[in-house]
């Protein structure tokens, strides 16, 4: 692909001349702008590798334009030109970050040589950024990202655990990557060629969960008009991932315990048992020991599950990985959303470092998706993430004006959070609940439940332009 050069000058003849002469000599595509304001418009819409801007222009002069460009993208390569060259102007431009300064009238060959050099700088910077990105990706493991000691330990555990055929229990807060970890265990195990079946336990109503897991025979209950294969059978030869196992009822726990002990299932309404060759990977964000104490979780089931535990650290426990993860998510979602690769402004990264991340990596993923969708410019700023630059660093905004009483305050803060979070989410997906659910990691039904609880209608977002 040819690089793009943007020439900014208030003289139309000059623009014409430079466009015609530079395009073939620099082998580049040339965009032109008749003013600083027009140049900023071009920059917002197009990726530009090099800018050649005149200093003396009415309204916004070249130095003002240079300052605005550098504020938006400190790496942008800009060459300034002027017919009224003075040492002061040249030094000022260079101090402001111009890469070169050319005085008019210039001889065409000199101009081409100096622009070639500037273009080379720009392409090198771009290549450098790409390589840095690639290096960071080397710190990832099966789509899990982290270079910190705690994450490296997790990767090591996954590798070890994957080689066995024992039951795995993954624990960690919401959004720490339990699903990715389960997939990693499966794909590194000897069962990798077999199916990986994931079941999000709390989203399936209890009376359906049993028939989903174990299947049923025709006539087992009123609507059972034909035989149905359960998910355990579908996972034959592979792994089944029981997400949020802490939420299943004691009745189902008893049946799963039987599968763990006997390696066999009995479809509803059937008298015969079926042997299954399935590895079980379970996960929970709850404290199962506490649940056992309260009598909500079977102790024997817990010990059968917790053969090989993998504990995923909360994001705040490994803040060193925040820039790495942010970069990874940015690259991943720019690709997914078909946008050119963006960067995060330094203040966004600073905010990320101090944010408590109650929702862990998933929370960051949502913020970054929002940023990619709404940011007009590169890099993505705090405002693009819907954050107020004044309060973003303290998190105070969520707490403003809350009642004194704890429960009432919490409820109100939750309501505010849900309204803002879900509002933005629906806006981003133009009211499409299925897409919104997928993006935020909830099942469609679960999201609809939350929307109902907070009285948020998806219809209102359907006609908005995302």
């Amino acid at each position: 692909m040819q690089p793009t050069l943007l020439v900014v000058d208030d003289e139309p003849d000059m623009l014409q001349l430079l466009r015609r002469s530079l395009a073939p000599d620099l082998h580049c595509h040339v965009e032109t702008a008749i003013s600083g304001a027009k140049a900023l418009e071009v920059l917002a819409a197009t990726h530009v590798d090099l800018i050649l801007a005149d200093i003396r222009m009415p309204d916004m002069d070249g130095l003002e334009l240079l300052e605005l460009i550098k504020r938006q993208d400190p790496d942008q390569t800009v060459v300034m030109m002027t017919a009224y060259g003075s040492i002061e102007a040249a030094v000022a431009a260079m101090k402001q970050g111009a890469c070169d300064f050319i005085t008019k009238p210039f001889d065409h060959e000199t101009l081409v040589v100096r622009l070639e050099k500037a273009l080379e700088r720009s392409l090198l910077l771009k290549e450098n950024r790409r390589l840095q990105q690639e290096c960071r990706q080397m710190d990832s493991f099966q789509d899990l990202v982290g270079g910190s000691d705690s994450m490296k330990q997790v990767f090591e555990t996954i590798r070890t655990v994957a080689q066995t055929d024992l039951t795995v229990l993954i624990t960690g807060e919401s959004g720490t990557g339990k699903d990715l970890t389960a997939r990693a265990v499966h794909s590194l195990s000897p069962r990798a060629k077999g199916p990986f079946v994931a079941v999000n336990c709390p989203t399936v109503p209890e009376h359906i969960l049993e028939s989903e897991l174990f299947g049923y025979h025709k006539g087992a209950f009123t609507h059972a008009v034909h035989n149905k294969t359960g998910l355990f059978q579908e996972a034959q030869g592979g792994s089944i991932f029981l997400d949020e196992i802490g939420d299943v009822s004691p009745a189902i726990q008893t049946k799963l315990l039987r599968v763990l002990q006997e390696k066999e299932i009995k479809p509803l309404g059937s008298t015969r048992t079926i042997t299954v060759d399935v590895r079980i990977i379970a996960s929970t964000n709850q404290n199962l020991a506490e649940k056992i104490k309260r009598g909500e979780f079977r102790e024997d089931f817990y010990y059968r599950l917790n053969v090989l535990p993998i504990r995923l650290p909360a994001l705040r426990e490994h803040p060193d990985d925040i820039p790495l993860i942010a970069d990874h998510l940015l690259a991943k979602h720019c690709r997914k959303l078909n946008k050119s690769l963006r960067r995060l402004a330094p203040e966004v990264l600073a905010h990320f470092q101090s944010r408590p991340w109650a929702g862990n990596v998933r929370e960051m993923e949502n913020l970054i998706c929002q940023g990619i969708l709404f940011a007009q410019n590169d890099p993505i700023g705090l405002a693009d993430l819907g954050l107020d630059p004044q309060t973003a660093t303290t998190g105070q905004a969520v707490l403003d004006g809350l009642p004194q009483e704890y429960r009432a305050a919490k409820q109100q803060a939750l309501r505010r959070f849900n309204e803002v979070f879900l509002g933005d989410l629906l806006k981003a997906h133009r009211g499409n609940v299925t897409q919104a659910a997928k993006a935020c990691g909830l099942e469609r039904q679960a999201l609809q439940q939350v929307l109902r609880r907070y009285g948020i209608g998806a219809d209102a977002f359907r006609n908005e332009q995302g």
Binding site: I87, V91, M94, F101
Partner: protein, 132 residues
Amino acid sequence: MESFRILVVDDELDFTETIVNRLKKRHLLAEGVGSGEAALEALREAVFDVVLLDIKMPGGMDGIDVLREIKRLQPEAEVILLTGHASIETSIEGMKLGAFDYLLKPIRFDELLDKLSAAFKKKASLGRPSLP
């Protein structure tokens, strides 16, 4: 401001002496040398925070070459270029090589102090270098 070290490089010895004395009166640590070669020797011996470098010193090393060598020896040193009759091209070249700023001779002392304090500010924000 007192703890920053300044090296003044100019072949006009009267000029060098005057500047060094006036800086010392302001309780600044300043030293003067009369050529590019002497400047590089001084920089091999000690760490300087700011170098005031005359870019046109006939008879010796070219000012731009001296600047290039200063940046190689002590990349953290901020260089302010001085000259009586420089071309735009030299000033651009100097800035490209990493000079911090430019002063035209005859210099105004308060202007020099402004530029020095801007250079000190930059150094302070980046942290002081230590002796090798």
